[in-house]
Every structure is written in C-alpha cells, then in structure tokens.
C-alpha cells in the first residue's frame, strides 16, 4: 500500500486531506489492518466541534475498540453515513469511500505539524520492526 502524498498523517494512524479549509479525515490502511474486521463506527454529530488530539469517535473491530483522534481542530460539517450501514467498508477502502468526517478547520496551520506520506510510511515500518 502506498500512502497518498496529498494526505497528512498522525502517529495515531489518522489521515487528513485538506481542501478549501475543509479537512476530510479517515484512518489509514495500516490502522484498518491492525484492527481487523471492522463492525462498528461511532462518529460525532454534525455541528459539534472537535479539538486536535482529542477523541473524535471510535472504530470497533470484532476484537477491540479503538479511539480515533482529531488530526485538526474545527467543526464537524459532515459524517460518512455509509459507515453506519456498512462499517466493513473501512477494511476495503480506508483512504477513499470510507472517510470518517469532514471538519471545517479552525486553524489550518495545525496541518504543518502532521507527517507527510513518506515520513508516515517510515514511521509505520519502524513501529512494525520494534514489535
């Protein structure tokens, strides 16, 4: 899997793609692989605000619950309804159709602190090697 170069990444394995002040947020392919069969996705309400680094929602696999952290701060303007009925889509297309939320970013400068695709890829490899 190659990680899209126009995304930014967190060390907690979320991605964000910024366009016109809106950040589309998801979890990475590495994250879905680690979780295994995803059976439930819990997302915030449209209109609520989230803070960078704080819990945004959660993703549950058969085995475990994993918190998702907001990679950027702002207001939730859309949540992906597809995941309510088909959470398993997160296993198939984590970087595409199975995005989680869209955030109207209150501080787009937060993006610069996130990892680029090359650095994220290295980070995942280093993490795997340390296991």
């Amino acid at each position: 899997m190659t990680y899209p170069s126009d995304f930014k990444y967190t060390k907690e394995h979320e991605w964000v793609k910024a366009e016109d002040g809106i950040g589309v947020v998801g979890i990475t392919d590495h994250a879905q692989k680690e979780l295994g069969d995803i059976v439930y996705v819990d997302l915030p309400k449209v209109g609520s605000t989230v803070e960078k680094g704080k819990t945004l929602g959660s993703v549950e696999s058969v085995k475990a619950v994993s918190d998702v952290y907001a990679p950027v701060s702002g207001e939730i303007v859309e949540v992906n309804e597809l995941l309510t009925t088909a959470p398993e889509k997160l296993n198939d297309d984590p970087h595409g159709d199975a995005w989680l939320v869209k955030i109207r970013m209150s501080d787009p400068a937060e993006l610069s602190a996130l990892l680029g695709s090359t650095d994220y890829d290295k980070y995942v490899e280093a993490e795997a090697a340390s296991h």
């Binding site: 295994g36 439930y40 819990d42 058969v62 619950v65």
Partner: protein, 368 residues
C-alpha cells in the same frame, strides 16, 4: 506492545503461525495467534466446515495412583466417580470459599489415572493448589511440557481428522476420548471443544505438532479448512455460552452464580467449596450470569457497566459481535431476580446508556 517476544512463552507451533502470517499477541504471557485470515472468516469456517486451532498453551496435570479418584473428587466440584474409562467432563477447581481456582476438563484414562486439561495462565496455580490439597498418596504431575494440543473443530472436523488416524472417530461419543495414533504417532483423541461445534481436541508430543498441523491442513483442504486464532475462538465460545476464566468466572464467583449448577454435585463426598456452596444455596444467590442482545447501536464489551432503571446493577463479562447471528451479544451479571430473559437493561458505552435486552442462552446451538 512493548513486550519483547523473547519474554513470552511460545508453543511448539509458534514458527508455524509466523510462517502462516498470523497476527500474534501476548495472551497471558503466551505469544499466540489472534487471527490469520480474519476473525469472521475463521469463525464461519468452523461453523460451516472446519477450523484448526493451536491450543498447546493449555496446561495438563495428571493424577495417578489408587487414590487418584479420591483426590480428583476432593479438588473438583463435578463427580468424577461417574466417569467411565475414556470419558471426560467439565468441572470446577474451587477454593474453600466456593470461588473458582480454574475451570477444567477431567478425563478418566484408567481407574487409577486422570488427565486434567487446565487454562494456560492458571496452570502453575492449579498444580500448586492440587498439590497443597493432596492429603492422599495420589501422585500429581505437572505434564504440560509433554503435550501439544490441537483442536479440529467444525462439522467437517471428523472427516478431516479421520484421514490421519485408524481410530474410528465416529465411535467416540461427545465428551469421550480414545488413545490412538494420528499421523503415525501417539495421540489422545478427545471429542471435546470450545466452539459449540462438533470436533476434536488431540494431545500429541510437542515435537510432532508442526508436522501433524500441516498434515491436518492438507487433509482439510477439500473442506476449506482454515487456521483459526484466539479471536475466533472467543466469538465461537461466546455464542455457545462457554465460560472464560477471568471473565464469566474468577476467584470471587461461584459456579451457582455463573449458571453452572450442573458441575456441582452436592450429593458426593466432601469437596473443596462444598460447605460454602451449601450455605450459598441455602441463602440463595444474589447475582447471576445472563445473556443479552444489544437493541441500541453499540457493542457491550467486557467490563462495561450494566444499569437497571438508571442505576448500576451489574457488569458485562464478555461481549461482542456474533458473526453467526449478525447481532451484538454478551453475557453479564445481574441481580438474580432480574437475570431472566426479557429484562430491559442499559449497557454504559462511552458514558452513554445503550439499550439491550436479556435473552435465553446459548445464543447458538448446533443442529445435531
């Protein structure tokens, strides 16, 4: 996961799991496969065809001598005097106060020889407990190092294993066993399991385990056999409402509370925990294990609080999605008068009460 693999115990099949690309986890100090192809995929293979599990981490304790039965019956709650040679049963190893040291499978090998299968993370404690309780001349042996254990589970389990043994598997009834050969070497072949499905658990010499594993994979190929990890083992046993130590049962829970009255035989000779259980029976239990299904969106998981009418009333012991039923199910402790099917409850999931209802168990029962 910062624990290094070197600090963990490994079964004789560890290299096999790694070669098969399993995801490995620290399970009570053991480096074990949690999944290979995926929990749901593996779960379905066991319900519909056959699955292969490495359960070599489980412990084995052997009790021998003319007083073996006396000791077994003193330390366990079921009545081993009812076992015939070649028969096994589920039982409780209890403290004097009635709580569980462990849950165990007792196999009667001979009149003076019992073979006990115990939980991996409890095996040292169990052995010590039995040794300390031994007031007879029975010989207690910690035998875990002499056995690897492989479970072949599912409706095609018999056909798979039959290819590797001359022992007539159909003649072994449920919860019975025979000593024979698998792949040309000694094996104890038991028709037991922890999945709610028909199948076998075989005990073999550790250095034969890898070869036998691969031969079983070949034998089961036509039935779509899948190697299965601890993840599927857990979803399967939960559907069948089989207890897991540290979840449904522990040192402070008695068999009466855990809905396991059938493994307590009060009419046999004295056994550890008997007096405490007699008292509890007299006074009546206050809490009891019961199954539930989620109604609201969410998954009730191990340790979550259960509320009745807005007030804390119990806790979830095991919970998660049921791949067979397509529902989110679980087990929980509730006040005994509420531990009946049809009771509306709330499971507290991330500080939110989510609606659920108690249901009859087991959640899944195979058609025979």
């Amino acid at each position: 996961m910062t624990t290094t693999a070197a600090a963990l115990k490994a079964t004789p099949l560890n290299a096999v799991h790694r070669a098969l690309g399993a995801k490995m986890v620290d399970f009570g100090g053991w480096d074990m496969p949690v999944q290979y192809s995926g929990i749901i995929d593996e779960h379905n293979a066991v319900r519909q065809g056959v699955g292969l599990f490495d359960v070599s981490h489980m412990g084995e304790i052997e009790i021998r001598g003319p007083e073996a039965l006396q000791l077994v019956n003193f330390v366990s709650s079921n009545d081993a005097s009812k076992l015939k040679i070649g028969q096994a049963h589920y039982s409780g190893l209890l403290y004097d106060h009635g709580g569980f040291v462990d849950d165990i499978l007792v196999h009667k090998v001979d009149d003076d020889h019992y073979f006990i299968c115990v939980n991996a993370s409890n095996q040292d404690k169990d052995f010590e407990h039995i040794e300390l309780s031994n007031r007879s001349h029975a010989k207690v042996e910690f035998a875990s190092d002499r056995y690897a254990q492989i479970a072949i589970q599912g409706p095609k389990g018999l056909d798979t294993l039959q290819k590797l043994t001359k022992t007539d598997l159909a003649s072994i009834r449920y919860y019975h066993f025979k000593d024979g050969e698998v792949s040309g070497v000694w094996a104890r072949i038991a028709r037991t399991g922890y999945t709610g499905e028909d199948g076998f658990e075989i005990y073999v010499a550790p250095d034969e385990a890898a070869r036998i594993w691969y031969e079983l994979q070949d034998a089961g190929r036509e039935f779509g056999i899948k190697p299965c990890g601890l993840g599927a083992r857990n979803t399967l046993r939960l559907e069948a409402k089989m207890a897991l130590y540290g979840h449904e049962i522990n040192a402070s829970i008695t068999p009466l509370e855990a809905d396991l009255n059938w493994i307590v035989k009060m009419d046999k000779d004295d056994f550890q925990g008997r007096e405490a259980l007699a008292k509890q029976k007299d006074k009546g239990i206050t809490r009891k294990l019961v199954g539930f299904e989620m109604i609201g969106r969410g998954i009730g998981r191990d340790g979550y609080e259960v509320h009745l009418n807005g007030a804390p009333a119990g806790w979830v012991t095991s919970g998660g999605p049921s791949p067979t039923l397509g529902k989110n199910i679980g087990l929980c402790y509730l006040p005994v008068d509420r531990a009946v099917p049809g009771q509306k409850i709330d499971i507290i999931i991330r500080n939110q009460p989510i609606e659920a209802v108690t249901v009859p168990t087991p959640f899944y029962k195979r058609t025979k």
